[in-house]
Structure formats: C-alpha cells, structure tokens
C-alpha cells in the first residue's frame, strides 16, 4: 500500500486536515453518552444525505413546471425501471427524516442537553427542524397533484388573512395572481436550492458546536448545571471517563442509521411512493384535499378552532410557539438536566405529544368534513324502512335527496359533521324537529326555503321513526297535558 501512503502524504501536505480530522474522530465522549439514546441526530444527517442523493436523481427527470410536473411523475413511476422506488425512497425518507428530527429534539429536551453552554446548538437545531418541515411542505407541493394544488390554495388563504399586507403575501407566495407556473417554479426553487443550502449550512454549524462543546453527558438527578462550574466539570468528566467517539460511539450510530435506511427501503418497497393523486386541474372540483401526515394535526386544528379564533391563532401562535422554543435555553439554561427531576418539562412534552397525536388521529377520521357523495351512495339501512307508512317512506326519500346524509350518519354510515340520527326521535320532539329542519341552527343550514311544507311533514314523520326499539320517541309534555285536559272537558261518550 505504498502508493496509498504517498497519495495521502501528498494530499496532507496541501490540505493539512489530518490533525483536525483526528480530533474529530477521537474527540472524547462521556462514556455513558456513547449510548443508543444518542443516535438520532446522526440518523437525521444520514437521511438528509440520502434525500439529497435521491432528490438529485429525481430532478434529472422531474419537469418543474405546472403544466408538466404531474406527467413527469408518471414517467418516473412507470417509464423508468425502479423509478417508482426512488420516488418512494424520497417520500418515505422525508417522513422518516421529520420523525427522526422530532425524536432527536425530544431526546435532547428530556436529557437537558439544550442547557448551558449548548444554547446555540439548540437554536440551530430548532432552525433545522423548521427547514425540515419546510422541505416536507415544499416537497408535497412538488408532487404536483390535486392535493398539492388545493394545499397551495389553503396556504394562500392563510396568507390572505394577514391584515394589511395579505394581498402582497398571497402574490409573493404564488408568484402571481393564481396558482400556476410561477408557483411551482418558486416552490422548486425553495425545495431544491434555498432550503437544502440552509439545511446544509445549519447542519455544519450544529455539528461544529457539538464538536466544540462536546456531547452532552448522561444526566444524573442532582447534578446541576451552573454557568460558573459546568465547563470545568465537563472537562473533568471527559478526562476521567471519556472514550474516543471512534470506535466507542460511532458503531451504534452506524447500525442505527443502517436500520433507518433499511426501514425506508422496506416501506418504499412494500407501500410504494406517495401519489400523485388526481391531475392538478382546478376545474375538477371533485377534490377532497388532505395534507401529508405531518401536517394532518394542522388540518384538524383549523377545523376545530372556533371560527373567530382562527385568524389570531394562525398568525400569532406560530410566532409564540417558535419564539418559546428558541428562548427555552435562555430561560432554563441552568439547573437540573435529568428528566426525573423536571416534572413540568415531562408534563409539557406529554401534553404536546398527546395533543398532536389526538389531532392527527382526528384528522385521519376528519369527522368535520361532509361526505360529499353519501346522499347518493349510502342507502338507508333496511331496518329503518321496514313497516313504515307511505308518508314516512316519502320522508326517507327527502332525507336522502336533500343531502342530509352528507352530514348525518345513519347506521354508522354517512357524514359526521352533524350528529348521528339513529335515535334523533328520542332527543327532539316533533315540534323541535320541525324547527330544526326549517330554521337550522347549531351549525346546520336552514332548510325552510328549500323544502315545501309537504316535504317537511314527510321528513319529520320519517325522523320521528328513528328511535331504538323499546325506547319511545320524545314527546312534548305540554301536548299530553293539553290532550288529557281536552279529553276531560269533553263529555265522555257512553
């Protein structure tokens, strides 16, 4: 291997990176930090590299124009052998990257690694999370299908809510007055040039800081961080029980990264690429746009917030939340690192995780979205039609024909925007049903103008039959009283 030594010596004379490289490889890591808990950051980096490679390959074929993007995705999927697999790797890699970055951040938070002197590492990491989410969103746009088109529409609608400069922001985001060629070009610009460059730069800063300040030590309950003493204590710790990064820690990073890449490959192979769904033709209005997995919680939040709170929450909450996360190490930069002694931290994290999971789960069901074809595709359960009078059957027809089913389920099938109606007769009396149908209210449109009196009578007659067997429909108590009073006052016949 004489020639190899010669070449490395020749390079070293010019580059002089041997010493810094040795420092990088051998930098001491606290023994307990060479742990399986410390592998997520490097896995994120490996995923980023994989995204860059698959992204460059996809860009060889992808046509970044509004007119041709969708067609070029078909070529990638079908015209090139295993092109679909590369596209799947890029899509699944993106999902895994967001997940791994979030897990890494959670671990850093729980282990108190953001505290003195690693504040800037945390800040750089928060920006890395934001850029990663930016990549996820812009990537979803470049998969330019119906979902992407209407997702951009939602983005523009949110921008349009900014007071004063809303119209400017809409035009700036779309690159013009409508979602069209310029929009795809600028999202391509963001996804391929701007955000990757920012990611690479901030990854460099993040890694440099990790090297300069050392890997966070394993948090011990009772071992407090103090600005005056920490640096000395850390130095002492790495001198006493430090081990070189290579080989003590790196093999775990490498095995975990390999596992993650293998998981991405398996998901891609078994589940395939995401979309593209329908052609992004805005005149095809049979669209029910859904965001990708990591933005589902936002979709749910926008549906569940009271309407008057939407604009303030949309515009102010991101600033407050991101600001709070950025300021965290400056507010809580000292003290206890161990999660065992930080109940508020653990509680906050649990609340956030449970909220996000619950919102994501809800968005998966999307009970607030009307089922647009329920009225014509979901028949009324047979039991609700057997032994009914002609009037009630006419009411059942009205019920289907007037799209009631789009928001109201029967037998568990139909929309969930409004309450299920299987037992509506036990909840509302006849008069209340008539009032509700005609006047609406409680988030239901008024049907007074759209139904003639005969249709209302028939519909309410049908609704009156919707009660479980053995449970009587709700009756207006005053009616019974009036009826008995009337029967008392009229002389009984012999």
């Amino acid at each position: 291997m004489h020639w190899f030594d010669n070449i490395s010596e020749w390079l070293e004379q010019r580059l002089q990176i041997g010493a810094p490289l040795r420092e990088l490889v051998l930098h001491p890591v606290p023994r307990r930090s060479a742990s399986w808990w410390y592998v997520f950051g490097s896995a994120g980096l490996v995923l980023f590299v994989m995204q860059v490679i698959t992204g460059i390959l996809l860009a060889l074929v992808y046509a970044p124009t509004a007119g041709q993007a969708w067609n070029s995705l078909q070529i990638i999927d079908r015209g090139i052998s295993l092109g679909w697999f590369l596209r799947a790797m890029h899509g699944w890699g993106a999902d895994f990257m967001v997940a791994v970055v979030l897990i890494h951040m959670t671990q850093v938070f729980l282990f108190g690694a953001y505290k003195f002197p690693r504040e800037l590492t945390w800040v750089a990491g928060v920006f890395l999370l934001l850029f990663t989410l930016g990549m996820a969103f812009t990537g979803q746009v470049l998969r330019f299908d119906q979902d992407a088109y209407w997702g951009l529409g939602i983005g523009a609608a949110i921008m349009g809510r900014v007071p004063g400069v809303g119209a400017y922001l809409v035009h700036l985001m779309l690159g013009g007055p409508i979602i069209a060629g310029a929009t795809v070009s600028r999202f391509f610009d963001l996804h391929v040039f701007i955000l990757p460059a920012l990611l690479a730069g901030f990854i460099g800063l993040h890694l440099l800081l990790v090297l300069k300040l050392g890997v966070n030590e394993w948090p011990m309950p009772g071992r407090l961080v103090r600005r005056e003493t920490y640096l000395k204590e850390y130095e002492q710790l790495t001198r006493d029980e430090g081990v070189p990064f290579v080989p003590y820690a790196i093999w775990k990073d490498m095995f975990f990264a390999a596992g993650i890449i293998a998981a991405v490959a398996v998901c891609s192979l078994v589940l395939g690429p995401f979309g593209p769904r329908g052609v992004p033709d805005p005149t095809i209005i049979q669209a029910a746009p859904r965001p990708d997995f990591f933005f589902l919680w936002l979709f749910a939040l926008l549906a569940l917030l009271p309407p008057q709170m939407e604009t303030p929450v949309l515009l102010i909450a991101p600033v407050v939340v991101i600001g709070a996360i950025l300021l965290l190490p400056f507010i809580a930069g000292e003290g206890e690192k161990s999660w065992r002694r930080r109940p508020i931290a653990v509680l906050s994290l649990t609340v956030i995780a449970v909220s996000l999971a619950a919102l994501t789960h809800l968005a998966d069901l999307a009970p607030w979205s009307p089922v647009m074809n329920a009225w014509s595709s979901d028949p009324i359960p047979k039991v609700e039609l057997q032994g009914r009078s002609p009037l009630e059957l006419r009411g059942a027809l009205v019920f289907q024909e007037k799209q009631c089913r789009n928001c109201h389920a029967l037998g568990g099938v139909g929309g969930r925007r409004g309450p299920e109606l299987d037992d509506v007769a036990t909840r509302l009396t006849e008069d209340q049903l008539i009032r509700q149908v005609i006047q609406g209210g409680g988030n239901m449109p008024a049907y007074g103008k759209n139904l003639n009196p005969a249709e209302v009578t028939a519909l309410v007659a049908f609704l009156e039959t919707l009660h479980p067997p053995g449970q009587l429909p709700a009756r207006d108590a005053s009616r019974t009283q009036a009826a008995t009073a009337a029967s008392r006052s009229t002389p009984s016949r012999p």
Binding site: G166, P289, L302, A303, S369, W375, Q403, N406
Partner: protein
C-alpha cells in the same frame, strides 16, 4: 511616523474598498429585489374581463359550473390556468358568479341543486344559493366576480385567486 501614516492610508483604502462594494451591492440589489417582488408590482394588471359564454347556457333559476382560462396565463401553466366558477342565473337578467374557493381556506365548494346548498369538502363550510354562509367556519359568504353582459355573452372580471384580502 511614516509607518503610521502608511497604516492609516491602508486603513482608508480598506474602508474605501468596502464603500465601493457596498454601493455596488446596493445598486445591484435594486434589480434583484425588483425581480423578487415583481409579482407585487403589477397587481393592478391581474384583472380582465373574461367571457363565460352565451347567457343562454345558464338557464334561469339554475346554478351551473362554468370554466374559463386565466387571462394572463403562460404556456407552461398547463391545466392550472383553468379556473372554475359557479354561475347563478337569478332571473330577470340578473346573475351571481361565485368563485369556486371556499371563503374559509380556499377548498373547492360543490353545488347541490337538490338542497340548493354549496358544500365545502374540507371543513364543512355550507352556503345558501345566494352565497350567504349557511353553516360552518367561513368568515364571509362566497366570493363573487363582478359580471356584465356584452353582446349576449356573460362576462366576469377575473384573474386572481380570491382570498380574504385579494379580490375575486
């Protein structure tokens, strides 16, 4: 003494060099920023009268889907420069032309002639036949295009994606 003088001369030259570059950067920034913000500069030109076809294609008392091409489209826009809208012939020569976009977050609303309602598939916004909010989260009724009848054709003034702060 002369050494000190030379040093200040060098310092002055450095400062001058920074100044020259700063001026150059400022000058070059003008076209760059102008280029970046060009979508804002011509926002007044975005609207134009577009034809939706003969008024006879929109029978009285009905609401129908109409499509048009964006007046300022580019060849590479492909299908995205097509736009849909709902045309309601109110009767008596009066029309209402609604944007397809829900006033809540811009999803495409669908017209149901049986119940005479517009429904949005995203968050359940519902509108009456005249575009007024019937239920759900929309903060206002459907966006309407200004319309006119010229030579028997229904024309609308369009060209912009309607949001709460841009015109329909």
């Amino acid at each position: 003494m002369s050494g000190e003088l030379q040093l200040t001369r060098r310092a002055l030259l450095v400062k001058l060099a920074i100044l020259v570059n700063a001026v150059l950067a400022a000058v070059l920034a003008v076209p760059m920023i102008g280029y970046l913000f060009s979508p804002l500069l011509k926002s007044k030109e975005y609207l134009q009268w577009v034809s939706l076809g003969s008024t006879e294609t929109f029978p009285e008392g009905q609401t129908r889907l109409a499509t048009f091409r964006n007046p300022f489209g580019h060849p590479w826009d492909g299908v995205t420069d097509k736009t849909a809208c709902w045309v309601r012939n109110v009767g008596g020569g009066k029309f209402q032309v609604f944007a397809i976009n829900c006033a809540h977050l811009g999803c495409p609303v669908r017209w149901f002639p049986q119940s005479e309602l517009f429904m949005c598939p995203c968050h359940g916004g519902v509108y009456y036949a005249d575009g007024a909010v019937a239920a759900g989260p929309p903060p206002r009724g459907l966006f309407e295009y200004p319309w006119d009848i010229r030579n028997g054709k229904l024309m609308i003034r369009a060209g912009e994606l309607p949001t709460l702060s841009t015109r329909a």
